[in-house]
Assembly symmetry: D2
Homo-oligomer: 280 residues x 4
């Protein structure tokens, strides 16, 4: 949707004056029932984005285009880990862009699938593997809801059996034991292809790091991501009282030939760990 | 570059065994001079990615495809704020994807321009405004170097004079006083279009928040982003000793009709700020 | 309490098998009614710490000595900001130790008063000023409950009228507008005495910084404190899902002669803000 | 030093106008040679704290009392981990106060010893064990320099041989393999006594957690501590560019009878990890 008017088949977001959000795909003849009256889809189609409309009971709604970030937070979830905050980071680190071919396993709620699908389009493809049928179907429904299902092939599969694709640009593993599937990932990846994974515990990071070395992945990086939200009040600017303290550790690596990557340099620490120089 | 072989005109990265990185665009007949001998571009063209090649002095290099994240860290910088870590976040929050039209001001070193250009392609466009010619030229050279300049129109302009475009999907302001240019941003944005900004100080956040209200921007969010890197050693897993403590505050908002967005709910705190419930 | 046996008048903590905590002061003849039966104080007096006792209904409790940290989390609160996590930091930065004389305003719930009282004892004194009588009485009751009230003089006072003491070692301001009371703080402090303050918003930090310069405070520092809790599970080690994102900004300074402290060095940044060197 | 005048034998800090800091113990007849002339100790003795004095070359110094925090940052270091930022936290969690008896192993540079010694005085005692003589002597010299050595007994010992003391209130382990010494710690601790440890890696945390269960320690907590410094400029308030990203993980526990502490409640997560409720 790049028009300034809402159009049939667009995904739009309605926000009530008491802050409730409704995500709908516009379909002629349909209607949205809210806690503050009915809104006809036909009333919205052709409407200028960013403007207000009035429900059957006289309540005001603003109609806006939802961002990918908002859609990711909105999907129906059947699984635990949720990481819209990591999605942008994953896109950059796995070098995702239009035309790329990428495997993810498992599908989860389709949160990351959404982001992958949006950014490989046009011309690229997401292969989303999931062992459990109910989870796969939920993810697929979420992708269809926001109109990004065309770029994705969902496959019900225990990935220990391997992936169907070869020469893919990137593989992302969001599974409990990613270290079990590195041979399969390696077989699917092109040379210098990108591997990513997310795991919730430090123990899993260690196990994955060992396996990455065994399977000749290089350029390994481990990181955490934090977002700290502020209350947007100009004369009382302050962070919110609570924040997300943890979702998972992100691990990134490249598929390369044996011993191709330089070993991390040996520890050279001689003295003490100094606090960083003060900057002024 | 989605091939498994390095091809003429591809951007590739060579990594030496002592960890030095060279970013080059492959051109038949060219050669790369390194601290460990000469590498002929013709030697690389047709080479499998992820494999090793040997320099004129017998040193080993691995040849890989650079990620956007790596390219962003590598650009020649003429300006201060550097935020590859925020780029993925900005892409998601401004709802950037192929086909979108987006304005940024100023161009800076072109780091964010790189990311915007990659993700609006194909079909979209980045309009990058910059007052200083030398900075603009440096950014343009950086974009050309990595082959993403076609999606970008650079314009030397003091943006107080306004933008040429209207109905754009998003505007990102990376300028010292973003609150001075909200009328211009509003004029350029489509209804419900996305505004983003980055500023280094809390005082600037407050000033921008006041102006956003004056110019009827809604859905305002303020956040900080942190990345915490770990040493990827499986049996001694630990965060690195120092981390980036601050680059800037990110501010996001939408262009809407007057009073369209609900006011933030009033403070309802009655008692004390409790620590969050322990999760188990 | 430094004995290995619980003694009359000791503060002890009982923990039930379902994780409920009871803080009690042992008094002969008294009894504690719990959700799992009655515990006689006489049953506890003389008991070895760290051991289990049985309630009237056959439920098990462990009896331990509570730490200052635990007591601070437990006090009855009538006010908003809660900062046991900052208390240790404040003790160190204000140079609190036995024999010191320190002013705090206001008393709040007595959380910081607890820590100050414990560490100035023996020989020192805490002067705790509070405008509202009900808050003062609650704080005083909290101090009495844990047996630290003797070191504290509570004073109901609007501190714009000044403090009674002079030559004190430290002043801590936990009030909404600390910048209004710097003349009073300066009059109370000895030369080179320590000033501390906590405020929730960035705007307040700025206002306080301006006033600190006006009143010739030097060595000014501003900081935030974070504690990130982990789930203590050895084979699934991970941070807790949520964390406290903000309590307040801490500001510290010294009372000195006019212009005695060196000005912060001017900004010397010439190039770009680089990420810190990787440490190995 | 609680006087408003600097006195013989006091520890004072001189700060030059270009920000250099000198920590000296005042001794009649002594002199301090600086990059900006000579300062006679006799010139300082009797001087008001917080005031300026003039060196032999006409340069200005302000004379102030150093805080414990400043002294901890200043000690001569022979070992790696440095944690003044954790010291206040450790004091609170180990329930240190005047009269307490506490064991630490190893002595390290004496940074934590400083804090322990200050807060157990008067009446308490620190037993500081260290295997290497040169490190022990450096720590002891550091304690003597700041006048806190009287409260400390240094012992050169491989702690696998056990500690001499029993019934101590707290034990702090800053050694590479703290899990090897829990029997020794348990033998030294009183019932419900406090155990603390600091380790740099996640793997060590896991190993220690396993051993703590074996040796019947209860109430186990794991945490990290962060301090984020701001540039104290009122109209350009912002965090510093770099921060300390890691020193170590802190682990705390209590010595109790077998199975006395309740097991952590089982995981009850049913649905998804939601972001915390927004607070307003």
């Amino acid at each position: 949707m790049s028009s300034v008017y809402a159009q049939a088949n667009d995904m739009v977001m309605l926000i009530s004056q008491d802050g409730k959000r409704f995500y709908i795909r516009l379909r002629p003849g349909h209607r949205l029932h809210t806690h503050q009256g009915i809104v006809e889809h036909d009333q919205l189609i052709g409407q200028s984005l960013g403007r207000q409309i009035i429900s059957s009971t006289g309540h005001t709604y603003v109609i806006v285009e939802p961002s990918l970030d908002e859609l990711m937070k909105e999907v129906k979830r059947k699984t635990q880990i949720v990481y819209p905050k990591e999605a942008g980071r994953i896109i950059l680190k796995l070098n995702i862009y239009p035309g790329r071919r990428v495997i993810e396993a498992g599908s989860g709620s389709g949160v990351l699938t959404l982001a992958l699908a949006r950014f490989v389009t046009p011309g690229g493809r997401v292969y989303s593997y999931e062992a459990r049928l109910d989870i796969l179907q939920n993810a697929q429904a979420n992708l269809e809801e926001v109109g990004l299902a065309e770029a994705v092939e969902f496959k019900q599969r225990n990935i220990s059996e391997g992936f169907d694709e070869t020469g893919v640009d990137a593989v992302f593993l969001d599974v409990r034991e990613p270290w079990r599937y590195l041979a399969q990932a390696k077989a699917a990846l092109k040379g210098s292809g990108f591997l990513g994974a997310i795991v919730p515990t430090a123990n899993q990071v260690s196990q994955l790091l060992i396996a990455l070395k065994t399977y000749d992945f290089g350029g390994v990086e481990v990181e955490e991501n934090f977002i700290r939200d502020y209350k947007p009040v100009p004369d009382r600017l302050r962070p919110k009282d609570v924040m997300v303290g943890h979702t998972g550790y992100l691990i990134f690596a490249r598929s390369v030939a044996p011993n191709a990557f330089p070993e991390p340099r040996p520890r050279r620490r001689v003295g003490v760990v100094e606090a960083p120089e003060e900057d002024l």
